[in-house]
Homo-oligomer: 330 residues x 2
């Protein structure tokens, strides 16, 4: 099993990426890791951090930064870590590619160089997070913002396969993110998607609302990339705001500081609710190859977990399963 | 000052609505309240709850339930509390109307019977909530889901006037809800809205993201009703999930229970973050009259606060100010 990792992408790269790889190799020394990026930078950081692990290195002289335009950058920067990593996957010299860098560039490079699975019109980013009852998935959180009803329907099929094979959920419940539960709710676009799901053999439970994302009524939430991206960031922002408000409130009094100390374990478990680091990475579904997009703010633990996800996807042949079933289900 | 209140709307009506009115009248005995709804039901509940306050009653024999289709119901149920309340406003026999009932029906009745302010193409619901730094506003949270760029631009103008006059914010910062901060981000639709704001004299700060809704970078967040409704419910659902997770975690151990006890004040203040009850109601902006839409789950305190908001809007002549400025700003 060989996994290629973009060593240059993310807010804490290459340092935290390398530390995460080191952690992953400690628990699975047989794993082959290909680090993609600037040779000198990577080697210097490995030394500096006192890390010691086996890896091969694929040199890439260019970097695509977070703010760069996706399509233009992947066409121009052929020697970037993202494009080189994706090419490695295409040539069959890696089984999966993980990047914590520019999401748009990873989506563009994957679509351009690996191509879409036959029957899939657009790739979608499936974010897996911890709900109150266990893992939940939301797709698309930003791969494609100009959606058509058919795209969302395919997201549903892919989500169902992924949730079953990788997350181990039997007959995953599929919900359509809408502004009300009733069938009559929503835009014309959403109603069309609803009809497609209703006619399918998927375990479609109907519309779900924004307040349902953590509730045990649905395993896979389907939406377009614009709405999904906002949903993800609103949840993230709300958690951060609540967390920092509570901590500063408690710290302001003696009883509060004692409360914080006594409840330490609970506060720490709360932090894991909805935490991307727990899961580690979001699979880009619909392309010919296993690509995982990690959060830009990933630290070592999130990197390690992203590698764990990649291993599971490789084991379950998730691309092949989507290829087989995408045109059968429906 | 005379405020009409839909006594039949909301999950806890008429009981909690009446208790809220009673609270409001205790702090302002000079206020005139018109309760709109079923005479016998209201009178029986006032007796049952042992309430004693002055009110006049406008009898309405019909009710529009939460699930009913908006436009059809307000056309058919002319004797419903929503339609009768709006009519009272139109006839100048009330200065504001508050309902905790079917949001769609209130929007439809307002648009149909009161009409839109000249220059406004669609009404928008402006939700005011407590951010980390003070009151924030998001418009539209669900009045209209098939938006055009011009509608969102007008929401921005109205939000700016409202935030300044009612919330007391000097030169309110206007942000456009998008999937990234860069100007190049988002759909073609969003980019058009961006251009309209950029060319205006409003204090436009550019794009904001879902993670920014509680941050002190923006006072008014502009979005279409579909995205706004999902944003509002995701934030609400995230808070509820976090709250119930934390409480059940802490309750499961002795130290945790002690922590909960010691931090009681802080946990209670946390609950108020983003709480609609704190503010009480969401003004429906853009129509010829002051209409306030309360959350369906409003209890007495939220009802009292909605009345406080209505009083402030009446005092500030908010409809007239929007009428004056809507075609001047831009």
């Amino acid at each position: 099993m060989r996994i290629a990792i973009d060593a240059m992408g993310g807010d804490y790269a290459p340092q935290e990426v390398l530390k995460g790889v080191s952690l992953a190799l400690k628990s699975d020394p047989g794993l082959e890791i290909v680090l993609v990026g600037k040779k000198e930078t990577i080697e210097a950081m490995v030394r500096e951090e006192g890390l010691s692990f086996n890896y091969s290195l694929l040199s890439a002289s260019e970097e695509i930064s977070m703010g760069e335009k996706a399509v233009i950058s992947v066409r121009r920067k052929k020697d970037s870590s993202i494009v080189k990593g994706i090419q490695l996957l295409k040539e069959g010299r890696a089984d999966a590619f993980i990047s914590f860098g520019n999401t748009g560039a990873v989506v563009a490079a994957s679509t351009l160089y690996l191509g879409l699975i036959e029957g899939v019109e657009r790739a979608g980013i499936a974010l897996v997070y911890s709900g109150l009852h266990g893992p939940s998935l939301i797709i698309d959180v930003g791969a494609n913002i100009d959606a058509k009803p058919q795209y969302l329907f395919k997201y549903g099929i892919m989500a169902s396969i992924y949730a079953q094979e990788v997350l181990g959920i039997e007959r995953p419940r599929i919900g359509l993110l809408n502004i009300g539960e009733e069938e009559s709710k929503g835009t014309g676009f959403i109603k069309e998607v609803h009809t497609l799901f209703e006619r399918s053999s998927l375990n479609f439970i109907g519309n779900v609302e924004g307040k349902d994302i953590f509730r045990d009524i649905c395993d896979c939430i389907i939406c377009d990339g614009f709405v999904g991206n906002i949903t993800l960031k609103v949840a993230e922002g709300t958690m951060e705001a609540m967390g920092s408000f509570l901590v500063s409130e408690l710290k302001s009094s003696l009883w509060g500081r004692l409360s914080l100390l006594l409840g330490k374990g609970s506060f720490e478990r709360l932090k894991r609710l909805g935490d991307y680091a727990e899961y580690g990475g979001a699979p880009l579904l619909g392309i010919n190859g296993l690509v995982i997009i990690g959060h830009g703010r990933s630290r070592a633990l999130a990197v390690k977990n992203a590698i764990r996800v990649a291993k599971k996807e490789i084991k379950q042949n998730i691309t092949e399963k989507i290829q087989e079933k995408i045109n059968v289900i429906g």
